[in-house]
């Protein structure tokens, strides 16, 4: 060892709590830097000048009334799944199965539309769709939940695998119900009768979905923050032992919360199929169950902030999609930009929780 060892150049220590506005300031700064980086990369690939990049992103989201409606519809869907998985996340139960739970909701909805459509009054069909999709989603979430509660089976991988099981199940029924035979797809269901299609409000195709999700959002906020159930979820998430100590039945809370999670995912599936898509494919959920994880986490599991974060992610995706179309790039470009921006925001948390203290190069003489 040297006689004269040098002090480390810098030293990291944990911060005391930051006021909320500074924390969000740091996040906003990270977002800005991320957007700059995106513009730079887009500029390298397409030669588009950075301002034009933002203009194109803006175009992709708000370029026309139709695009704006699609944007809000996508936000609503993503927000709905994010709201669904949030109770589980607050409980530290990593439900990555949002996709599968939504998909199985889609499947249940489709089944009602195909099998019951035209045979029962339309409102009965819709009621059946609602009930069956919620039940299906709930069951899909309950299976991993029961094993988690009983034997502490790893829920991350369990729910993940349930996604693929759901996908294959949907693939199976698509072939059963395919129209025409051998097409390998279902097409628009009940196009002529519109049986089981959710009603439109005025001439706005997407408005109903958006309103429903807004209501779910407020309800979830109240449920998580002010109800006894919400409090139990928070306690279980923080410490199962504390929960047992005060007499909370942890197993019951886990299963109940996952049921809720799955039910809302199922509802999202119903809104998607019954409200806008009117068809079923294996990729109908577009990976929203995964994106929802980021939405929820970025918003610190707060339903109201999640409106913002889901807006952010959908806005970027649509914008990047627009760049991709207008330059003939692959649509995966959106994933790259989303990933990049996430890296910046994830990294920025460090500067909220820790501070870096630079020190002088040499130690003081004594």
């Amino acid at each position: 060892m040297n006689n004269k060892a040098h002090n480390p150049l810098f030293h990291v220590s944990r911060r005391a709590a930051l006021p909320w506005y500074r924390a969000w300031g740091i996040r906003a700064a990270a977002l800005l830097i991320a957007l700059l980086a995106c513009a730079l990369i887009t500029n390298l690939i397409t030669g588009l000048n950075p301002l034009a990049v933002y203009a194109t992103i803006w175009q992709g989201s708000f370029g026309s009334a139709r695009r704006a409606w699609v944007l809000f519809q996508n936000i609503a869907m993503l927000l709905c799944v994010s709201l669904a998985i949030t109770p589980a996340f607050r409980m530290r139960c990593w439900n990555l199965g949002g996709d599968g739970q939504m998909l199985i909701g889609c499947l249940a909805t489709t089944a009602c539309m195909i099998l019951l459509g035209g045979k029962l009054p339309n409102w009965v069909v819709i009621l059946c769709m609602l009930v069956s999709s919620i039940l299906a989603g709930a069951i899909w979430a309950a299976i991993p939940a029961i094993f988690k509660a009983k034997w502490n089976t790893n829920e991350t991988l369990f729910t993940l695998m349930m996604n693929y099981v759901a996908t294959q199940l949907v693939a199976y029924y698509i072939i059963i119900w395919e129209v025409p035979k051998g097409a390998g797809k279902i097409g628009i269901i009940n196009q002529s009768t519109q049986a089981g299609w959710l009603p439109q409000i005025g001439s706005y195709k997407y408005l109903l979905n958006i309103i429903v999700v807004a209501l779910v959002c407020v309800a979830m906020y109240v449920y998580l923050n002010y109800s006894k159930h919400g409090y139990e979820i928070a306690v279980v998430g923080e410490s199962e032992r504390t929960a047992r100590y005060v007499g909370i039945k942890v197993e019951r809370v886990i299963v109940r919360t996952m049921l809720l999670s799955g039910a809302v995912c199922g509802l999202a599936g119903m809104l998607l199929v019954g409200g806008t898509e009117h068809t079923l494919t294996t990729t109908i959920t577009s990976g929203r169950g995964f994106t929802a994880v980021m939405v929820s986490w970025l918003a610190k599991f707060n339903p109201i902030w999640m409106v913002l974060t889901s807006f952010l992610l959908v806005f970027l995706e649509r914008g990047a999609g627009q760049i991709a179309t207008s330059f003939g790039l692959s649509s995966s470009y959106a994933d790259i930009l989303t990933g990049l921006i996430l890296f910046f925001i994830i990294g920025s948390e460090f500067f909220i929780n820790y501070q870096i203290n630079f020190r002088h190069a040499a130690g003081k003489e004594d």
Binding site: S13, K228, H229, Y231, I248, K364
Partner: protein, 511 residues
């Protein structure tokens, strides 16, 4: 023996370290000599552990210099500390549970992995100092004192000649403590420098050659142990004169409250934790539970609180009019619904009794959130309770919306005890209520417990400091390996006898 002849092995000068707004060490000076046992004294939060952690490379000082044998050094990591011959035995053992003793001991050393040679060397060290370690035993199979032995061997294996022990006796029986002290004296005579962090006065007096005292992160002074006494040291630690006596009022009108009969409990792995335990706890009385840690104290309390599945036996709650309720087979919720007001201060405050990340008010809600038929929680009452607890128990906190993990150990305990006694319990279970608390906080807790006793609460107090137990409890139940070794009156009980009962059923030495 003159201190002046010895060279200072370690000189710490102007050491300052802060954690956020908290100044843990403020310009501390400390000298450590070879061939001497230094007791580092101070209340909790006075910065003893922080100071030693900087010497062992866990923390890095914000300011100040450290020199070893007269040479300025920079200790950036535990590795640097090892290279300088500094080894620290932490209060929470730094051992990997799934590895064997030998694997843990060679952890972090360079060179080819040769566990056989390592085992040989370990046996050599063990026979030199009189340890017993099986190099191939997994850590999770070991008792607390075995783990501590592994820690000490680990430090010696690396050739450390400056040893730091952070509250090493907290988990040991009196007999194990004596053994440890003998080893430490051995090492001192071997020329090693030894620092022991503690706040047990009798240990300081029995073991150390010199004491150094910290208070609120500042260095107060050091002196040869022989030239001082417990009262003076305590006053220096606390900063003002304190009385060291614990009150023990006579129980008023004791009546049986909890009757335990033939209680037998097995852990999930099928190990017998309690075997045929029977006793009665009376109202207005403190029943102390003594025993080596892990002898079934936790299971006993958790069985009464409805948290532990029981294999056999009965636990009856007896009301003033003599009606009995069986508690076994009920969970905490149904016990509360029966109208039994039972409070429990568990050993693991932040992991069980409280939610570390929630604020004071939300933690008060833990016990009360179910009240009322509304779907929603009542937020006002817990807030008022939190205010009251902060005021009455003098909890030092920025406010009731501070997460409890930001509070110091003593304040955390006050919050927990405050909540538990707020429900006017008839039974109060406490496990290691003053563990890790400084003298002032400890006395606050003793006072609170005595107040509950005066109000007629049946108190079961699991303790580890026998001196306190002997002064506080009306009766003492000694557990040994999950069995009742004996129940003796607290007044007039002798520490040696209790110690023997802890290690041997009935406590009779074979003579």
């Amino acid at each position: 023996m003159s201190l002046d002849n010895k060279t200072a092995a370690v000189k710490m000068r102007n050491i300052t370290k802060s954690f956020g707004p908290v100044l843990a060490n403020d310009k501390v000076w400390l000298d450590i000599y070879r061939g001497e046992i230094l007791a580092l004294l101070g209340e909790n939060g006075s910065g003893k552990t922080t100071l030693m952690n900087m010497l062992s490379g866990i923390y890095f000082p914000d300011e100040g210099t450290i020199s070893i044998d007269g040479r300025d050094v920079v200790i950036r990591s535990p590795k640097d500390a090892f290279d300088l011959g500094i080894g620290m035995i932490h209060q929470h053992f730094k051992l990997v549970d799934v590895l064997t003793a030998a694997e843990n001991i060679v952890l972090g050393l360079p060179g080819k992995l040769d566990l056989k040679a390592a085992s040989e060397k370990i046996r050599g060290i063990c026979s030199a100092y009189g340890f017993e370690v099986d190099p191939d035993q997994k850590i999770y199979d070991m008792s607390v004192s075995q783990k501590q032995t592994v820690e000490i061997v680990k430090v010696l294996y690396r050739g450390a000649d400056i040893l730091i022990l952070d509250e090493p006796t907290a988990v040991l029986t009196p007999q194990e403590t004596d053994k440890l002290f003998a080893v430490l004296r051995n090492m001192r005579d071997d020329g090693k420098a030894i620092v022991i962090i503690t706040h047990k006065m009798h240990e300081v007096e029995a073991l150390s050659d010199r004491v150094a005292i910290l208070r609120h992160g500042q260095f107060i002074g050091d002196m040869p142990t022989k030239q001082t006494n417990a009262q003076e040291m305590t006053n220096m630690m606390v900063g003002h004169a304190v009385t060291l006596n614990i009150d023990r009022p006579e129980p008023v009108n004791p009546k049986p409250r909890i009757e335990v009969k033939g209680l037998t409990v097995r852990s999930i792995d099928g190990i017998l934790k309690l075997e045929d335990v029977s006793f009665t706890a009376n109202s207005g009385e403190i029943l102390g539970i003594a025993g080596i840690s892990g002898c079934g104290q936790k299971e006993l309390l958790e069985s009464i609180a409805g948290l532990q599945p029981v294999e056999a036996g009965s636990i009856s709650y007896i009301e003033d009019d003599g009606t009995r309720e069986e508690l076994i087979g009920k969970d905490p919720l149904s016990i509360a619904e029966m109208g039994v007001s039972l409070s429990f201060v568990p050993e693991d405050r932040l992991g069980m009794g409280l939610v570390a990340n929630m604020d004071l008010a939300d933690n008060m809600m833990l016990r009360s959130f179910r009240k009322g038929h509304s779907l929603f929680t009542d937020r006002r009452t817990p807030k008022e309770l939190a205010q009251a607890v902060v005021q009455n128990l003098e909890v030092s906190t920025p406010g009731i919306s501070t997460p409890v993990r930001r509070l110091s150990g003593g304040n955390v305990q006050k919050v927990l005890v405050g909540r538990e006694i707020s429900s006017a319990p008839t039974v109060l279970l406490t496990a290691y209520a003053v563990r890790g608390l400084d003298i002032n906080s400890s006395y606050t807790i003793y006072d609170l417990i005595n107040k509950q006793k005066a109000e007629g609460v049946a108190i079961i107090y699991v303790g580890e400091d026998l001196d306190v137990l002997l002064e506080l409890a009306d009766r003492i139940l000694v557990l040994c390996g999950g069995k009742v070794s004996g129940i003796i009156p607290g007044r007039g009980a002798n520490k040696r006898d209790v110690g023997l009962m802890m290690t041997k059923l009935g406590g009779k030495a074979d003579e």
